[in-house]
Amino acid sequence: MGHRFLYIFILMIMFSGAFSQNKYTLSGTITDAESGEDLAGALLSVQNSSYNTICNPYGFYSITIPEGNFNIEIQFVGYENQVLKVNLHSNQVIDFTMKPVSYELENIEVRGKSADHNVTSLGMGSLKINPKQIENIPVLFGERDLIKVMQLLPGVKQAGEGNAGFYVRGGGLDQNLILLDEAPVYNASHLLGFFSVFNSEAIRDAELLKGSIPAEYGGRASSVLDIRMKEGNLKDYHTTGNVGLISSNLSFEGPIKEDVSSFMVSARRTYADLFLNFAPDKDLREAQLYFYDLNLKTNFKLNEKNRLFISGYLGRDKFRMEDQFGFDWGSKTATIRLNHTFNEKLFSNSSFIFSNYSYQIDLSGDNDVLLGSVIQDFNLKQDFSWYLNAKNTLKFGANLIFHKIVPGEVEASPGSVYNTLAVRPRRALETAVYFSNSQQVSERLKIYYGLRLAFFSNVGPGDFYSFDSKGNLIKTNSYDQFIWVKTQGGPEPRLALNYKIGRDDAVKASYNRIYQFIHLLSNSTSSTPTDVWLPSSDNVKPQISDQWSVGYFRNSHRNMIESSVELYYKNLHNQIDYRNGADLVFNSTVEAELVFGRGWAYGAEFLFRKNEGKLTGWFGYTWAQTMRQFDLINQVDQNSKGLSFPARQDMRHDISVVAMYDLARKLKISATWVYNTGNAVTFPNGKYEVDGRIIGYYTQRNGYRMPDYHRLDFGLTWIRKQTAKFESSWNFSVYNAYGRENAYFISFRQNKENPEKTEAVQISLFKIIPSISYKFKF
């Protein structure tokens, strides 16, 4: 398979290069004129031709075009367009700087990031957001959150009220590859999911890929959320702060040496526990409940050809009740990377990445015992971009990740009544190599083809288990250090095409296969701090997704309005669930508790988006269906094969409307409205009495539906002051403005007065939540 693909690949490139004439390469960087930061995603196009290229995430571009005199245009959202005359008769390096649009200029037409990108790019089901664009969207508790905005897009479903977890096109919560400066983030939420770990003041931009996923990404079956931190202003020092009701943040950035190196540091802390001071109860007053985040980034231009970036993230939630118990959890990531420009056509990025997620529960109060779990990665990554010629851009590279997972550990002090228990750590090596080419076949047709070979090897030291068909342990095999135990994986083809029908519309199609080797075991409706990641092994096959999608994309009103319709079908193999009553945390043979099945999802997504003018925003609608089937779940009786059932995230209709309006130069208002039909849920079909209590009788998995969900939010931003030296603004928002009591969950219980009676009870979380925050920058 791999060989054949490689052969076709080489053939295609040779073929496309066969007509070459005299061509030269224009390359360089595109940066912000004021801060000196890279403008990843900026578009460079040659006027009156079909030649164009997009800056890579490090602000580097390269384009090869026939000899001649051209007008080169550069465009990026929020920046003034620029046109430069270029006489190209040899290879040239041109570094562009772009001026941000100032508020005075705002009424002048500002073209978005490559105005017709929606139609011309190969990307499908992808969306880029930068925090500035979404500044005015109303949010819960006034806490701006990129992930919450992503959830307002078609095909992305929120994992419960106010939750930062999300499902993409029928995939699981663990099937999203969430990267912060290339480092995977294993638990992206704080405070039981109500906040994401991404402090938007520290974020430069974020891109969600749900359809066509390029070959440089792998490891999660359904989507990629690629988040990049700000790099720090290379010219001036700036301080930015936000003061909100439940959290505040402060960021500081500036040059270390002007135009050569800079830094950015941003910190955020919630102070929800300050409210506990008003509690009548002494213990509650002394309780701690907060989280903090710290983002750091620095970069150095070592010389013309090399640039070094170092970035890190540290975030932790803390919960403590006197000396009784403490519970804290959080992530750490670090990325060191080197950009190297070999020549005007070949660009390289080398990264060393560290990621760690852990939680710890301290029961020292009564029992002198610590419980905990850790997942840790060391990751080496090498990527090359080769701007071969006008028609071909090649990418290739390799990735090596060393995983260590400690599923559960109990550390008892010598005097403790508990025994120390360690479920032996699991170690594994994930390897991948990839190559891809995006090729302009003709004026109208652009294609992308890539292949990623992904493998996962369990390595010693560690214990591996053999089970019989009923899940009883037959044999434990212990392996020594560096012993290869089991390798799984395979080829992942990635294909995409864009066929331009007219000037303003295009048809796109894509196919991806992705392997996922580590899996999240969770039985709660959202991610919780104690979720366990489980690696593939001799008992656990990797999850595999196959996704086909087609779409029609159209721009109108001079690219002011973008619209698209996308259809997708996704097949998920080796999906994981577990037996009833499984102990997932302190169980070395947790694999015996697992059951395997398959899933499929399909849907249609409609998006209309207006990017310019006084009124901006979008309307999105999704129709979707998501199913699962397991032999051992949802059986009619013990001997039959389980019936297929809707997945928890199955939701037929989903609408979101986002509108932002500039009322006056210093006053902006916004509103969002979301509506979705209820997701699938399991309710009892009958009842009976056991042990003196009334118990529900369950016959069908996810056989019922939650009530419809809808909600309206309002936001208002009032810019108090705006000068070159100082900016300040107030933001007011109202979450759930008409006080809809949306069901968070529905439980069934005996009536308190009359235990003979049983009733269904709906729990709603947030009725009307107003919030206010103040932002300043100098």
Binding site: Y418, N523, G581
Partner: protein
Amino acid sequence: MTNRLTYISGLILILITSLSCEKVIEVDLSGSNEAIVIEATMTNNKLPFTVLVSKTSPYFGTKTKNPVSGAKVSIRAEKGKTKSFEEISPGIYQLKGTIASAGFWYIADVEYDGITYSARSFMNEVVPISDLSFSYFDGFGFFDSGYKVNTYVRDPASKENYYRLKYFVNGESIDDGGEITLYSDQLFNGKDIGLGQRSTVFQETDTLTVELQSIDKATYNYFLTLENISGTAIQQSASPANPISNFNNGALGYFSAYTFDRKTVIVSDYLKK
């Protein structure tokens, strides 16, 4: 231990979601075929062996009990004689005057409507309560103040042990906040340990009886999975399922052959000590 984690997560959730509200709603639940429910218990004590046989009923129906009369109920030791039960009132079957010994497998058979439902349970040796201790709990948030009891056991090191604790105040069984107090010795095998309780608190005048049941793994699993779908509604399981029964042929319920030890104290007497 997992339960404890859930409990702590639940606590955090209570703190943040004090803004939440609840209301009783109408839910349209379709009916289902009736299933048979068997609750069979036997001990090494002089208590009669009791088997309750019933059927499921519609969830919002007025009838809670749906007893099944005319079933043939019997129990035998693995290699012993079959002893038949007598139906003393509808759905309640009893066997008096028989004493079972620990250390054996027992088999319960319930025959009804031409189907025999069977389950096996192993009767473990008695693990005595070595001591009780009380500690005062200040209470916080929604939790009342009062005394909490610790039940001490010397866990036998030689094998896996599973415990269920039940509490009686002035002779009345109390449900510890609707929760089922279960322990497996996975984390404390062979140690002297105080087994704590959860929500309920006791007052000085209370006469408290603690019952420590030594149960088998199947019973432990049954109650563990039963607790997932009952008790406090906070942190409800995302995919509730019927508890794991040791009965075959699709019967709900369980068969538990267990031994127990009890200790009774007046809280104030203990405090004087």
